[in-house]
């Protein structure tokens, strides 16, 4: 493992208004995997996500909204889990993500430079697929990198028991891969940040500088 950032911070957002929903269990189970891989986790899940409707013109922020944005600003990667409501992300999860508009003018805006793992949970496969696609589309709009693998959970197939343990070896394998991809991306970026001056003296920085206007991480 790279010494640069052995313990990246991953922010977890998801679940439904009902405590211990399948999407929340999926999220918390994945958080435990991230911790076993050496990552740090901050979880915003379930009823905690019942935030006021995001209103850009209203400067007041609830304590949870403030903590959420603080966590997203500090994090090295993100995990999203949404139930599929009528074939797309729930308004609950989307409203939480709408608060990232507060990060629009950050040096690293929205989810720039972070890998985002997406978990879609729905009853039957059609809604699972369209929910996953809508999560990934939001990730692109927020300038993040959706992980190659997205995890689709069909709730008509047993997934987690009442203790939150995963009862499907195949699903567990997928969630492990997902967690691994988010962590790997975070470590890849931090390693490069540290190595940049030694690896390619001046060469790539100049090239990237010409394109970006300013090298992204060093601008912040």
């Amino acid at each position: 493992m790279t010494p640069a950032n052995p313990s990246p911070l991953i922010t977890f957002i998801g679940g439904t208004s009902r405590p211990s929903s399948i999407s929340e269990r999926a999220l918390r189970f994945t958080a435990s995997i991230v911790e076993s891989l050496g990552g740090r986790t901050e979880v915003f899940a379930g009823p905690q996500l019942i935030l006021p409707m995001y209103a850009p013109e209203n400067p007041e922020r609830s304590p949870v909204a403030r903590a959420l944005i603080q966590s997203l600003r500090a994090c090295d990667g993100v995990m999203l889990a949404s139930a599929g409501y009528h074939g797309a992300i729930s308004g609950l999860v989307k409203n939480a993500l709408d608060y990232t508009e507060d990060m629009a003018k950050d040096a690293s805006p929205y989810l720039h430079g972070r890998a985002i793992g997406c978990i879609a949970v729905a009853k039957r496969w059609q809604a699972v697929g369209t929910t996953l696609v809508s999560l990934r589309s939001v990730v692109h709009a927020l300038r993040g990198w959706p992980t190659p693998l997205g995890v689709a959970i069909n709730t008509t197939v047993p997934a987690f028991d009442d203790t939150g343990a995963c009862v499907s070896p195949e699903l567990e394998r997928s969630l492990r891969t997902l967690a691994g991809q988010v962590i790997e991306f975070a470590r890849m970026r931090s390693f490069f940040e540290r190595m940049l001056p030694q690896v390619q003296p001046g060469f790539y920085e100049d090239a990237l500088l010409n394109m970006y206007g300013a090298y992204p991480e060093q601008a912040g």
Binding site: R136, W145, P146, Y204, A207, L208
Partner: protein, 197 residues
């Protein structure tokens, strides 16, 4: 991360796209992105236009045509990929999809399909609806191939004149998208090559 094959001196990219017509706007968009990457110090091999007219992929029928063999050899070595497709009836063309279907031949590679590489998507069409759905379908294929779609996808409405005779982009807003895409591809490739595994 080390790749299965020997690492090239500079980050190496493969560009695939265009239409059956040589010099289509889609092909120009692809070649312009390749040019930006080359300016940034990368190397790009472009497969575009009529040369993408391959026989329908058929798993059992070997050997592969020479162009398919070259595309497979290049993608196996690639640190990143650019895909450019017109929107045909709201999705990518069969021409491009058939080329990508040949990646099935890499199934048993140590690094199958496009695994672990960043892939930039360019969608062209006459209207925004088709562009959006074409972009989504391209990205879905990228995920299925085990790769990372770049945050930026370039969406180009091809009704006006977009490129000059040198192939440079004439529309500032669109140019910014191409530069963003090229920078993200280069950025990912450089970090990936520098990371230990």
């Amino acid at each position: 991360m080390s790749t299965a094959s020997a690492m090239r001196e500079h980050p190496f990219f493969v560009g695939i796209g265009g239409t059956t017509r040589a010099g289509s706007s889609t092909e120009r968009a692809l070649r312009y992105t390749a040019k930006l990457i080359e300016r940034a110090g990368g190397a790009v091999e472009v497969f575009a236009g009529p040369e993408l007219i391959l026989p329908m992929y058929h798993a059992e029928e070997t050997p592969r045509p020479p162009v398919a063999q070259r595309i497979l050899a290049a993608t196996r070595e690639a640190d990143g990929v650019i895909l450019a497709s017109p929107g045909y009836h709201g999705s990518f063309s069969g021409l491009l999809k058939n080329v990508l279907d040949y990646l099935e031949d890499t199934e048993h590679d140590p690094q199958p399909y496009l695994r672990g590489r960043a892939v930039g998507c360019i969608a062209t069409a006459f209207g925004w609806q088709a562009i959006g759905t074409t972009m989504l379908s391209l990205r879905s294929v990228v995920h299925a191939l085990g790769a990372w779609p770049t945050p930026t996808g370039v969406a180009a409405i091809t009704t006006g004149r977009l490129f000059d005779d040198q192939g440079d982009c004439l529309v500032p807003d669109l140019d910014e998208q191409f530069r963003g895409l090229a920078a993200e591809l280069m950025d990912f490739a450089v970090r990936r090559r520098a990371s230990p595994r």
